[in-house]
Amino acid sequence: DTAVSQTPKYLVTQMGNDKSIKCEQNLGHDTMYWYKQDSKKFLKIMFSYNNKELIINETVPNRFSPKSPDKAHLNLHINSLELGDSAVYFCASSQDKFRGTEAFFGQGTRLTVV
């Protein structure tokens, strides 16, 4: 009964492909996020959605497009994958947009672009 679940856990794909990572939370939270953990292990925010509305969009290539069909889901679609996109991507959710407190994270998706 996972609170924040993302699929797939591992993704290996070739350069130039388009791929999606799905995320779902069953906590009833209003806000969801995508974070990227790079090879140096730094966790950096990419996007934040509150009730299906984009509220944070950090400097991320427009090849990355988040989609939130409802407030329980925030999927990440990546076009024309590049080697540098290889990283671990974490989905997270929190109760509301005003506090990052106790954001709950998914288990991560390790993306490897070859």
């Binding site: 924040v4 806000t31 996020y33 140096k40 292990k41 730094f42 966790l43 950096k44 925010i45 934040s48 509150n50 509220i55 944070i56 974490f90 997270a92 929190s94 509301d96 947009k97 005003f98 506090r99 990052g100 407190t101 106790e102 954001a103 709950f104 994270f105 998914g106 288990q107 991560g108």
Partner: protein, 115 residues
């Protein structure tokens, strides 16, 4: 530019002793600080937090201290247990208009507690 820094990439402690993990920040707008714990192949798990209006918050074996003038916080774990072995991330957030809940993370410190 890293706004949140954890200068020690790793720390090794004997079971039963105190573990002290440090974190420094540069952004004066940060007003809420959190510690997350991460095991391999899992997502970060919230551990403890502190508001900038406090200088200490305690939860069982875990205590976080905040020194605003020094822009420094630390996590104390006492007594340390082998199950505490994990990577610990310091994170901070700022009260900005429509900032959402953007957490800025440090690079993490790997804690190893030896039996």
């Amino acid at each position: 530019d890293q706004q949140v820094k954890q200068n020690s990439p790793s720390l090794s402690v004997q079971e039963g002793r105190i573990s002290i993990l440090n974190c420094d920040y540069t952004n004066s707008m940060f007003d809420y600080f959190l510690w997350y714990k991460k095991y391999p192949a899992e997502g970060p798990t919230f551990l403890i937090s502190i508001s900038s209006i406090k200088d200490k918050n305690e939860d069982g074996r875990f205590t976080v201290f905040l020194n605003k003038s020094a822009k420094h916080l630390s996590l104390h774990i006492v007594p340390s247990q082998p199950g505490d072995s994990a990577v610990y991330f310091c994170a901070a957030s700022a009260r900005l208009p429509n900032a959402g809940n953007m957490l800025t993370f440090g690079g993490g410190t790997r804690l190893m507690v030896k039996p």
